[in-house]
Symmetry: C4
Subunit: 235 residues, 4 copies
């Protein structure tokens, strides 16, 4: 069981540089075994091409070390808050991918300008509020998780499996580490196209609710009709 989780998490981490989402070690993927409440995550500061499956660190949902010789990602506490708060997610990815990070730095939520966005994110990808000095000086990584959780108080995290942390960078998630990577790729792509869209037309309009619904529901939920299986979320 744990070996499978570690392998999936290792594969998810390996795919981040392949998709051009990370420079050096600036990104991490994790996964959770919901039955045993065990979380597997990238070790901190390790190069992707020097990382082996056995380097993946396993901790409990409270962050106690279960397996691994290396320090876990310094963002571990953010991942743990998200797993505790969003019971349906099973994989998380954090990157500093260029365009999504630029939106986060601009402090702007990412509007749904087109069907590419609507195919995966049901509405805008929110940018969190700024963190307070107390949150930053306190348990910073845990508070980052809390601010994300706060942002999703009224929003289903699986309908919008991504967030922009203000002045920082994106987190994405999904039903598996692989799906979290998938969403990280989509986010970067739509973040880039949205930037070009407002570059071309500062008054570009969001797509209509009807078109948003149509495209989102074409790929998600019981009436989905995209792909080879019903409910196929892969795209």
């Amino acid at each position: 069981m744990l070996d499978v989780l570690k392998r999936h998490v290792w594969e998810a981490n390996q795919s981040l540089p392949k998709h051009g989402l990370v420079t050096f070690t600036w990104g991490n993927a994790s996964g959770i075994d919901r039955e045993n409440n065990l979380v597997a995550i990238k070790p901190s500061g390790l190069d992707y091409d020097e990382m082996h499956v056995e380097d993946i660190v396993v901790v409990t949902l409270d962050g106690e070390l279960v397996e691994g010789k290396l320090n876990p990602s310094s963002d571990l506490e953010t991942h743990l808050v998200l797993y505790r708060t969003f019971p349906d997610i099973q994989g998380i990815v954090h990157t500093h991918s260029r365009w999504a990070t630029s939106w986060a730095q601009a402090g702007m939520s990412l509007p749904p300008f087109g069907t590419t966005h609507a195919d995966y994110f049901y509405g805008e990808v929110p940018c969190t509020r700024k963190m307070t000095p107390e949150e930053i000086n306190g348990a910073y990584e845990k508070e980052t998780g809390h601010v994300i959780a706060e942002t999703f108080r009224l929003q289903d995290p699986l309908e919008t499996p991504a967030v922009l942390v203000h002045g920082h960078a994106p987190f994405t998630w999904g039903r598996s580490p692989k799906e979290a990577v998938y969403h990280a790729v989509v986010l970067e792509e739509v973040a880039q196209m949205a930037a070009h869209t407002i570059g071309l037309n500062a008054n570009a309009e969001r797509i209509s609710q009807q078109l948003l619904d149509r495209h989102y529901l074409r790929k998600h939920g019981k009436h989905a009709y995209y792909g080879q299986e019903r409910g196929d979320t892969k795209g």
Copy 2:
């Protein structure tokens, strides 16, 4: 006959990621056998590197399945409307390529700012009107085809073998699946350059009618003198 069509459609689909036009499965190419009115198209949601020639789905011009075990692209109905409306086209490509999609999201037609554009598109590449809630909630993919057809009521689709669907993405076409791919590449290239052009000069002027004519007719029609054969449309 059908095997050749399927192979050409498979090759056209394979070339989409090679040209950097698609992320994941976000694009599809089709072709038509005009003698037998059979359309071959990519299966829905399949990765390009897992797709074999035998996976290509064949349907009649009305969409009835002729050959194939997989679901056809969910955009099939759009392709079929275009084949029924534009009798001279024999290949269609749909992508979410970045720059063309950004223009579609901005709701703007692509003006002919230079000779690169004029070499392949005789005038601006139009952006469709927004679709109505009724069209979106109805037979959406078919209505997408109708809105494209409406856009070309007064325009020759082979003189401007591309369209931007408002809030969505581009479709291109040609006398073969390969030519439709070619036009998808050209469209993305001129969409990028046009964005940079207005970024540099918000009042950039379209090229003159004389220059548009000269470049378009240098490559097309009976007086063409580009390439190794007269009437060579390849570029």
Copy 3:
């Protein structure tokens, strides 16, 4: 002799896609043997990876065919005018590279914003005036050459070995086909950086005459001290 020229021209053409300067067949390089007044140029519309040395077409300085079974580039007449007008150049390159073409489409000369520009171009890279309907409808390619020549009436073409043809695309040249390619790469690079520069600061200033002189003369002329040989223009 002719074999060497043809090989150099073939190599220059092959290097265009390697440097990311051309899409499909949208570019051509030529070279001249000044002793015998013979010009070698890419055949029209041929894919770079299907082109062999023996496909290179050789013509006289007046355009009469000397060697080759294929049609020469449709831009041949522009090249010939430049060889006849600028006696010191021995290689010419034409591309539709993205950023240089965007400046040409914007109808703007490329200002020297930094030392990268000054290292190779002694002052702004000029954009030609618009061509008249008569020039466009007449001997278009030859007139393109004349408009470039007119632009350089008061400017040394080897001090600024590049031009932007209004609404069209760049031409570059040099003391060999290889050097013309080199200048095409530099032009694209500085065109991109200049666009970003004015994107960051609409009032960005050109570099001072002193800095322009210092950098240009560091690499060119008898007091050059860059590289391993005096007068080394390679960079």
Copy 4:
């Protein structure tokens, strides 16, 4: 000893094109042996793929040749001033990387818009003042070093290991040639994201002092907790 230094400098130079930081020969890396006050640097104008370890030039801290048959980089004197002025640095990199150079051409310091910046640069990356005609016409490369030194009079060069030279391009440094390369990559990345940030939001705010402190100190100094070793500066 010298062989190790030369190998490290050679490797640093080789990694510049691999990271996409240089076109042709437009960049150079150096390193210093602080015990013997010997500086190793790239030879001038040599292609990276034709450069061997034995081509690396070694000079004293005053620029006297110790080893090597080729001319050293024409930017040698700038490197030497920096080594003499900043006693803790042991590697320097100069490139004309696109985005950092565009900020330098815009004459703008690079503000810390996000945590990616704060992870490596403790505050804005300064742009130098313009150099005077006297400095440009005099010992230009040495004066470039003096202007950089002047810019860091009140700033710790290891806390902000990068500078933008006005109208020219960036220099970065670090505790080794490899770390200087690392900082050149980071600089280019944050320069690109900062440009996109102000493109999205002309009024984008710098990150707060608290967030800057938190991220910088997470990776640097005795309380660092990123990576596998305390004080790990690699990222």
